[in-house]
Structures are given as C-alpha cells and as structure tokens.
C-alpha cells in the first residue's frame, strides 16, 4: 500500500540536501534540477500547495515561522524528511537577517553553496576560516542575490566569482 501511495505521487527529481545548506539555496537547486524545472518559486508553491509562502522562504522571510504542516507539505514533494528541512531554517530563538545576504568566499571555494548560519544575527564571521563575512560584492559593491538564484556562483554585475572574493575578506 505504501508503495502504491508513493508511486501515485509526482515524479519529481530528488535533490540531496547539503550539510548546513540554507533553505533558499536548497529550493533553488531543487527547482532547477533536471526534470523539475520551475523557473519561479510559485510553480513549486502550486504543486506543494504552499502557494506564495515558498517565495518568502527563499528570501528568508520567516514571519510567521514555518509550521510543521507547511514543512510536511514541502517534504512531500521534495521527498526530504521534515526534520532535515527544519535544519535548513534558523534555530529556535536565533535572530535571523534576511538582508543582506552574506557569504564566506573561502567556504564557497571549498563547497559552493550558501549556509543558513551566515544569516544568523549572532554570526559575525566564519569560524572555520577566521574571516569576516562579506555582505556585498567587495569589487563592485552590488548586494548578493538571494541564494536560490546562485547558479554560477558569481556577482551578477562584475562577474567576479564568489570563490575569488576570499582575497578581499578581512580577518576576524
């Protein structure tokens, strides 16, 4: 029975979440995965029944905070456990910046994705690299786009790669 239920679900391509990855980055990857292809968050919003909420999550607007039912609805279509999805959100009681989007170029050079921890209010720098986070492109000063749109991993204005920005990061 369980199998039949599963097979009547939509055949979407599963995308493996990465360690510490933010929900925005994950949703962007999921939407673009081969065979999924939703050019906007509303497309996935429709399919999951979450509507415009997903577009808000991609921008790190978590007010009101995602409910269990909402995460369950998303878990159903992306086929990722609810608890695993919960890890892509800020921890309970941790203040969250939805703007600006922040980034450690050294981390990105190692693993090209956005970490949810970079958006915590309490996070000032990268503990692993002892570097302060960048809040905008250090070359042209354009703010970083939301992580759901990080496709090539570079500044959309001056085209500098995020990984190269490590040279401009200050010690912390």
């Amino acid at each position: 029975m369980a199998k039949t239920l599963k097979e009547t679900k939509l055949w979407l391509t599963r995308v493996e979440p990465l360690e510490g990855e933010s929900i925005s980055h994950f949703l962007g990857r999921f939407r673009r995965a081969k065979g999924n292809k939703f050019s906007t968050p509303c497309g996935l919003g429709q399919v999951s029944g979450l509507g415009a909420v997903l577009a808000r999550w991609e921008k790190f607007y978590f007010n009101p905070f995602p409910t269990f039912e909402e995460l369950e609805a998303l878990a159903n279509v992306v086929e990722v456990d609810v608890n695993r999805l919960r890890e892509m959100l800020p921890l309970a009681g941790v203040g969250m910046k939805h703007k600006p989007i922040r980034l450690c170029g050294a981390c990105y050079a190692e693993e090209p994705y956005h970490l949810i921890a970079w958006q915590f209010k309490t996070t000032a720098g990268c503990d692993r690299h002892q570097l302060r986070l960048l809040s905008k492109c250090p070359i042209c000063e354009k703010p970083f786009p939301i992580p759901a749109l990080w496709i090539e991993g570079r500044c959309l204005r001056c085209l500098t790669f995020f990984a190269e920005m490590v040279d401009r990061q200050k010690a912390y």
């Binding site: 391509t13 081969k34 999924n36 292809k37 939703f38 050019s39 497309g43 429709q46």
Partner: protein
C-alpha cells in the same frame, strides 16, 4: 439489475469494458511497432476512423511497459498520448508530462524543458501521438524537437485517420522527410470480418446460448452496420449483448441487434 443472476450481472460488467484480443492483424501491427521502437525511428500509423488504431496502440503500450516494468522504478518506455482538438504546444507538453506523472504548471519554456528532460530521465523509448492530425501546425516544431534532440533517441509514431494525417504531414516538408515509414490498418476483407465476428462471439461475448452472428442475416446486418470496421463492430456487439442480457435473453437477440444498429449514428 437486481433480478438478474450474479453470473449475468458479472457478464454485463465484463462487456462494458473494451476487450483485448490477440488478433492476427493486431499482432502484425505490434511487430511493426516493436521494430520501430527498437530502431528508434519515426513512423505513421494510419487507417480509417474506428478501425482499431487506438486500441492497438494502447495494447502495445501496456504490453511493452509491463514487460519492462522494474519495481519501484519510475520508468515508462512507451508513452501514449491522445491529442485534443487544435492542440498547441502547451497542451502537447501537458499531455506528455501527465503521462509521466510530472507537474504541468509553469511557463511554456518550463514545460518544454521539463518535458525533454523527463523523456530522458524516465527512459522513454517511444512516443505515440494519437490523433496527431489535431496538432496545430506550429506544434509540429515541438514534435520535431523531440526526435531531433540528440541523445534522446526516441521513436515517434504519429497516429491518425489516413487522409487527415497525410494532409497534415504534407504541409511540413521537415515532417514529411522524417516520417517515411508507414503502416496502414486496413478495413477488414470479407473473410477476415467473418472470422473476427466468430472470435468476438466466442471470446468476447461468450454468452450461454449461441447467437450465430457470423451467418446469414446477422452477418449481413453487422457488415452494413459497421462497414467492416473493427472498432464499430466491438461497440455494436457489446452494446447489443448487454441490452439482450438485460432483457433476459440467453444470447444476442437479432431484434436487439437491429435496434442498436438503427439507433447508432457514426
């Protein structure tokens, strides 16, 4: 229904579904379809309306997919879609996506990309486009796209009524050049028709008392009523059989048959 015996009730229920019979002509057509699929070619399947094209394609799709079925895997080697009237690109992609259990929302470029990717991911080997004459002229470029796409290697079959499908294919030289293989499902000849009526009576209807459909006036009635088209024959016989049973007859009653033929407008 209540005053009928359970056996008769079951019989009526069975007769309400189109049958599947391993007829020689169907087997022959399936062999051609298999060859087309294996060689990943394009082709046309033509024939008059109600000559059994759709039934033949559906049966082929079901059989081949069963054969290749691997548990829990999202494979669909043969996709059979039926094209609605005046079908544009969006509807065309939606039909394929539905057949593959995929979301059907988004912009037209989302749908196009999702369709092409899905054909690959779910390992589609053959796309059967039934009633292909309903495709809008512009939509043929999307059909071409599917079989021209390198790496996909998909066999594409266009199915339709002979004259209409030929007219459509001829409009577009690009299409014409690519759909060279053709198979025609003919109207049945006298002896084939008689044989099929016999098979239908024995294997599909299988009523308690013989109806002698393949002889004398019955056969004549059927020939006129169906113009020897297998799809029409199937519909007429099943309808007449159900009505006969409901009236308490033990076989297909000649008067009921006449009644059904007169009432049917093709």
């Amino acid at each position: 229904m209540e005053d009928l015996s359970p056996e008769i009730q079951k019989k009526i229920k069975d007769l309400s579904r189109p049958p599947y019979l391993e007829l020689e002509r169907v087997k022959h057509c399936h062999a051609w379809l298999t060859e087309l699929l294996i060689s990943r070619m394009t082709g046309l399947l033509v024939g008059e309306s109600r000559c059994g094209k759709t039934v033949t394609c559906k049966a082929f799709t079901k059989q081949y997919n069963e054969l290749k079925k691997t548990q829990g895997q999202r494979f669909k080697p043969v996709v059979h879609i039926q094209i609605p009237k005046a079908c544009g690109s969006r509807d065309f992609f939606i039909k394929i996506l539905k057949a593959l259990n995929k979301p059907t929302n988004g912009t037209i470029s989302d749908l196009r990309e999702r369709t092409l990717d899905s054909l690959e991911i779910h390992q589609v080997e053959m796309l059967i486009i039934d009633e292909a004459n309903h495709l809008k002229y512009e939509t043929f470029s999307d059909v071409r796209h599917i079989y021209d796409e390198n790496g996909l290697g998909i066999a594409v079959l266009l199915v339709g009524t002979t004259s209409r499908l030929h007219a459509i294919v001829k409009r577009d030289e690009q299409v014409l050049n690519r759909f060279l293989e053709q198979y025609e499902l003919d109207r049945l000849d006298e002896s084939q028709f008689k044989q099929i009526v016999q098979i239908w009576e024995r294997d599909v209807l299988n009523l308690p008392v013989a109806s002698n459909l393949a002889t004398g006036e019955n056969l004549k009635l059927l020939k006129q009523g169906t113009q020897k088209l297998i799809g029409r024959l199937d519909m007429l016989l099943r309808k007449a059989a159900i009505r006969s049973l409901l009236r308490g007859h033990q076989n297909l009653d000649k008067d009921v048959l006449k009644e059904v033929i007169t009432a049917t407008k093709w």
